[in-house]
Symmetry: C2
């Protein structure tokens, strides 16, 4: 999906919601466990119910890999079920030496029909660039993450005057790609950093996890981060997909997604 | 596998070789392509031929994920085929917020019988600690990698007097685990850093990729990094597994592994 297509989707649907399919088999409703593939059955119902209220889905690969081959099968069925009208993100946090990152890029951007993959930047240029070689596909590079551990390294000041590590990562990575193939992960729990971030990268999209279960404020982020082409996708996972653990789980998920969308429409005015 | 068991294996076999199963389906011998699972057939023959000369195998998950469900099936068959006498590493470079890293830990250290997984440290403490919760299992955290991109961030000097980023990563991570559950990845192409590294972490094991195809010197590293309980696993992938592309590929791989082992026995004197 191109930048223009993504922005068009957001503007026509009045939402920049990304639904995170962190579909932990331990947490899905009990009545689904008789299904041949309970996780896919769960995802299918969640997707059907939330499609009108979001523009993106994010599959957290860890929750599939933890079930081995069966989990990977659920992942493949899920990604192939999401319509191409929606931006499809592999939240995989991959990154390795060049020849290996190329294989990860093939895995998610070519073999599977994801539009984007999250990428860990620690190993530098040759670990990120292989994800930027596919027309209409995206690398979403970790900038400043939503978790407490962001303090350990990401927020460390560098000696070269380039600010903190995450700022240098973002500045450096913008030199490897363009606003048409690169986004950054910035946690919703870091609202105080968004004004600074928009100075560094005024035109890039941010993928913003951390509202809901992790406590970030949608209002704060939206006010500080929305740019001329919207420029943010805000993800919510547990808050939406586990809104109810009963037989009404998909209805509850749809309602929760809708409530995010209603709020977002307001910030898009 | 415990530290004591690993050291015992190394000392009795006189080798600290790790064979990297970066089993690219494009590069395996043509005559295997008729097999039901060519990559597993390839790995099986490579493992049989190299078992006496190595103490560890490293499965590079990217080369399996790039083939989707079929690739993941090859990975599962391969890990279950490697005997428990050998240290089994998932070279997966995972790392995410706590609840997600926990799922990756389950995927590789519990659902699959790996002894260790490589972990990307960018996201800090809660992204690494979930990998340290399994008895006899290991997190191998990226320190200083072998690729050119290591210059971009890993080698950046920090303003807080903690040296360069990779040095702070290694120092910090040693506070989260012990020499019984934590190792570090240090590239063989960084021989000049090993003396410094041994000052920071005299007792930890290093996993050292980058000899062979990437150009690192086994002699250099061994002289600088071997400690009182050996303390290094040196990985070679392409150099061994693709030593021949003919029907003699496993014989050639065995010979190449043996030649590494012979050289290593010398450095262990």
């Amino acid at each position: 999906m191109t930048l223009e297509q993504l922005v068009e989707q957001i503007k026509s649907k009045r939402t920049y919601l990304c639904v995170g399919l962190d579909s932990d088999i331990q947490k899905i409703p009990k009545h689904l466990m008789d299904d041949e593939d309970p996780v896919f059955a769960f995802n299918k119902a969640i997707i059907d119910a939330t499609l009108p209220y979001c523009v993106a889905y994010k599959i957290n690969t860890a929750f599939y890999e933890s079930r081995g081959l069966n989990g990977w099968a659920s992942l493949e069925k899920t990604i192939r079920y999401i319509p191409a009208t929606h931006f499809r993100i592999a939240d995989a946090k991959r990154g390795d030496i060049g020849n290996t990152s190329s294989q990860y890029a093939i895995a998610f951007l070519q073999h599977l029909p994801f539009d984007a993959i999250t990428v860990a930047p620690y190993m530098g240029e040759d670990s990120v660039k292989p994800f930027l070689q596919f027309e209409g596909k995206w690398a979403i590079v970790l900038g400043l993450t939503s978790n407490p551990g962001a303090r350990d390294f990401e927020l460390n000041e560098l000696a070269d005057g380039n600010g903190r590590l995450y700022e240098k990562v973002i500045r450096t990575v913008t030199g490897w790609g363009t606003i048409h193939n690169t986004m950054f992960v910035v946690g919703a729990t870091r609202a105080e950093e968004f004004t600074n971030l928009r100075r560094i990268v005024p035109h890039h999209f941010f993928l913003v996890p951390g509202v809901g279960a992790q406590g970030g404020s949608l209002k704060d982020i939206s006010e500080k981060a929305i740019n001329e082409h919207v420029g943010i996708l805000v993800n919510s996972s547990r808050d939406i997909i586990f809104a109810s653990s009963g037989t009404d789980f998909s209805i509850a998920a749809g309602e929760k997604a809708q409530s995010y969308a209603v709020e977002m429409a307001d910030y898009l005015k």
